[in-house]
């Protein structure tokens, strides 16, 4: 063993000063070589995957809970906790049987009653789940391992909803927790997933520790996205919440952490020379920048003003401002995001022609816009939103809008976006956000795809034809039919313009000596990962 300066200093100081004995618990801490320390995109604030749609909670849930179905890399549902299932010929009754060896970490077996209770609680909150529950007649439990979903009408989407990896996914909890009011958080974290949360080692806001579940029985198939065998190759995974991006970069360079999900793009160059660090895009579909306009008030209650926004946004320029290197971004012309099964090129002339401020000016004029201030909410603490707001506000001014750019942090934006009052009374006209492209690929599950007016997501677009298309898509019996409906839906959508996109990006993760990490949208699975 060579003596480095660091070892010498550490050894000297430790030797001289370790008067106090180290705690015995240190002996139970797995070695660094068997521990993955990951800095993910945010803090894990809530542990209940039904109570919130936060992605960090979904990451946590995928560690400690399991799902009835997973998805493969084509987003096809595959049985996970389920061994076999069937759909009756009239497409009204789904029958499921659980596979052998499923146990919660308290030692109790996973039963059909746990599954039914979990589905009901999840179905009360998730968009897809609600769609299914509205058509659900009964959930008979046949025996400890078998249950059914009996629908009121022919329905083909139940397995797709149960398999979805995007938040809220349907994680199976014990019946006891699953009976908790869906509007209230569960108090106990006991799942049957590949990891167990080590709650004694957790420091809220700082470190979340997951140990390998020794009793987990993985499937025999290879792991693909959330399907197949969830084989755990390390003893411990630690989510380190390092809030400061420069510190996280320094920590991975020094070997103190093994992964950063989204390293700051401005600092990527400092990692490029490091031999042990690899930059890899895990979410190949990427993220989609999303501009929502308020349909309740002028000027965006007029379709011409919304169409003007399509022509004035220059996605490549917005993306360049944040991500620099063109390999990390592209524009997006499809309502369903680029690279999703529903992507299509219907009605995208506005995109093909590129930014056209003159056309936008003309549309603003035709909309009858009266020059009133247009309130643009500007989240300054998130780089891509900050850049998007600054640039788009400038283009809006060039097109003739009288823009009032109102700066705050993101926490304030998500409060204000819920306000329906006129913009001069605390409301708003435009805000910017983003989402996983995978979520945009499903016109029913993503609440932001709804155009059901004030009952819908912030911006409250309204279009009956669009809603009819969404219902038709949900009732379709196969993918070919769904793709055609999606095309029709997009043809209509880019006429009435429910919202706009300001770019699609693919931010790489930084990995230090990690292999086998499954790259997929909206989840970082730590099964299959090997260190070294």
């Amino acid at each position: 063993m060579t003596t480095t300066r660091r070892r010498f200093v550490q050894g000297s100081l430790a030797g001289a000063l370790t008067a106090a004995p180290a705690r015995l618990r240190a002996q139970t801490t797995p070695p660094v070589s068997r521990t993955v320390r990951a800095v993910l995109h945010g803090d894990l604030r809530v542990f209940d995957p039904v109570w919130t749609t936060a992605n960090m909670t979904s990451y946590h849930a995928a560690m400690v809970y399991d799902t009835l179905f997973g998805v493969d890399d084509k987003f096809e549902p595959k049985p996970q906790m389920v061994s076999k299932y069937s759909l009756s010929d009239d497409r009204k009754t789904y029958s499921f049987e659980l596979r052998d060896g499923l146990r919660f970490t308290d030692g109790t077996p996973v039963t059909a009653r746990d599954c039914v209770a979990s589905i009901r609680r999840w179905g009360a909150r998730d968009g897809g789940g609600q769609h299914m529950m509205a058509r659900l007649a009964d959930t008979p439990v046949k025996d400890d391992k078998s249950f059914q979903l009996v629908m009121k009408e022919p329905y083909s989407l139940a397995v797709e909803w149960l398999a979805k990896a995007a938040t809220n996914a349907c994680y199976i909890m014990r019946e006891k927790e699953a009976q908790t009011d869906p509007m209230q958080q569960i108090q106990t974290i006991i799942g049957s997933g590949p990891f167990v949360m080590n709650q004694d080692a957790v420091v809220q806001g700082q470190r979340y520790v997951y140990d390998k579940n020794p009793n987990y029985v993985p499937r025999s198939e290879p792991a693909v996205f959330t399907s197949g065998g969830k084989v755990v190759n390390v003893d411990r995974v630690v989510y380190e919440n390092i809030a400061d991006e420069a510190t996280a970069i320094a920590a991975i360079r020094a070997g103190e952490i093994d992964m950063i999900e989204y390293p700051n793009v401005d600092l990527l160059s400092s990692l490029e020379g490091e031999k042990e660090i690899k930059l890899e895009v895990l979410n190949k579909q990427g993220q989609l920048g999303w501009a929502r306009v308020n349909w309740l008030h002028p000027p965006f209650n007029n379709v011409k003003a919304r169409q003007a926004m399509l022509y004035l946004i220059h996605p490549t320029e917005v993306m360049k401002a944040t991500f620099g290197d063109e390999k990390y971004f592209k524009g997006c012309s499809s309502l369903f995001g680029m690279g999703t099964p529903m992507e299509n090129d219907a009605n995208i002339d506005w995109f093909k022609g590129g930014q056209n401020i003159e056309k936008a000016k003309q549309l603003v004029k035709e909309s009858g816009y009266d020059g009133r201030p247009v309130v643009v909410l500007h989240a300054t603490n998130i780089a891509y939103m900050n850049n998007a707001a600054n640039l788009i506000a400038q283009w809006m001014r060039q097109a003739g809008f009288n823009v009032s750019l109102q700066a705050s942090d993101w926490g304030a934006v998500i409060t204000r976006r819920a306000v329906k009052s006129p913009p001069d009374q605390g409301g708003w006209n435009v805000f910017f956000t983003s989402g996983s492209v995978n979520a945009f690929g499903n016109p029913v599950a993503l609440s932001g795809h709804a155009a059901n007016g004030e009952k819908g997501w912030f911006g409250w677009p309204s279009d009956e034809k669009h809603e009819a298309f969404r219902d038709k898509w949900a009732a379709a019996s196969n993918d070919a039919e769904r793709r055609q409906i999606a095309r029709d839906m997009q043809q209509n959508a880019w006429d009435f313009v429910p919202h706009m996109y300001y770019g699609q990006w693919f931010q790489p993760a930084a990995l230090r000596n990690l292999t086998g990490l499954i790259g997929m949208p909206e989840l970082i699975p730590f099964w299959n990962v090997k260190k070294g």
């Binding site: 550490q10 803090d43 936060a54 700082q206 320094a250 920590a251």
Partner: protein
Amino acid sequence: MLSYIAQRLAQTLLVMTLVGIFVFLLLHFSAGDPAAIIAGDYATPQQIVAIRQRLGLDDPLLVQFWRWAARVLSGDLGVSIFSNTPVSRLILQRLEPTLSLALLTMLFAVGIAVSLGVIAAWRVGSLVDRALMGFSVLGFSMPAFVVGYGLIYIFAIELRWLPVQGYKPLADGVGPWLLHLILPTVTLGLAYIALIARMTRASMLEVLEEDYIRTAKAKGVTTKTMLMKHALKNAGVPIITVIGIGVALLIGGVVITETVFNIPGIGRLVVDAISKRDYPIIQGVILLFSGIYVLVNLLVDLSYSLIDPRIRY
């Protein structure tokens, strides 16, 4: 003396009450809704409204204030809106790193700053004095995060002598504990050193002009005795005052330093709580900080009588 202490403690309670009311109102009138943050980005407005109702955030402000104040009076700081964990437990969990950092910084800074200040005053106008005062200007004007990143780059990334970030509890051994605190302590201590060193120098310069110092010199006392026994003791009151005032600087600095070095202390706790509008944590921590600040100033006031027998309460 006892009646003075009782009077000051009563004032402390009054100050903390006012701070509590101010913080409560400030938080509730500022933009941001914890329910919207909890619900996540894809949540519908209906889901957010339901969470608001569940958390009691729709209740009138007075009702919310009374609910919180009644809890605080009974010694309960409430429960985090996000994690459902008692605020007192969260604070206790974070107390050791913050106390370690603050106390180590105090020791480090006071030890160095007083020595530097005395030397500068003794050698006033010399190159040493100018260098020390130049250093103190630099220390005071460089933001903690700039110093922090600089130290990380040199000592953790290039030289690899010290860890970049994190904290090891004292129970894991003094060595690892200290190794993880060296860079944060130096980062946090620089401004504090600058402040105290300048005050020590100014105070010492004043005292060194006094007749009794000249007398001491005439009597042939050694320079060391003259500086440490005759001069420093008499210059002590303003120095102690500045150390006390510097606690506020330290509290502010802890928040930044803990973020830069990823130390799981109370500073990080409050920064995270502010970003997600976790009202009970913000209120609890600010109450704690205000209590500490007022008590430290009480201790400073009491220490005057130890240094200067002419001061009596």
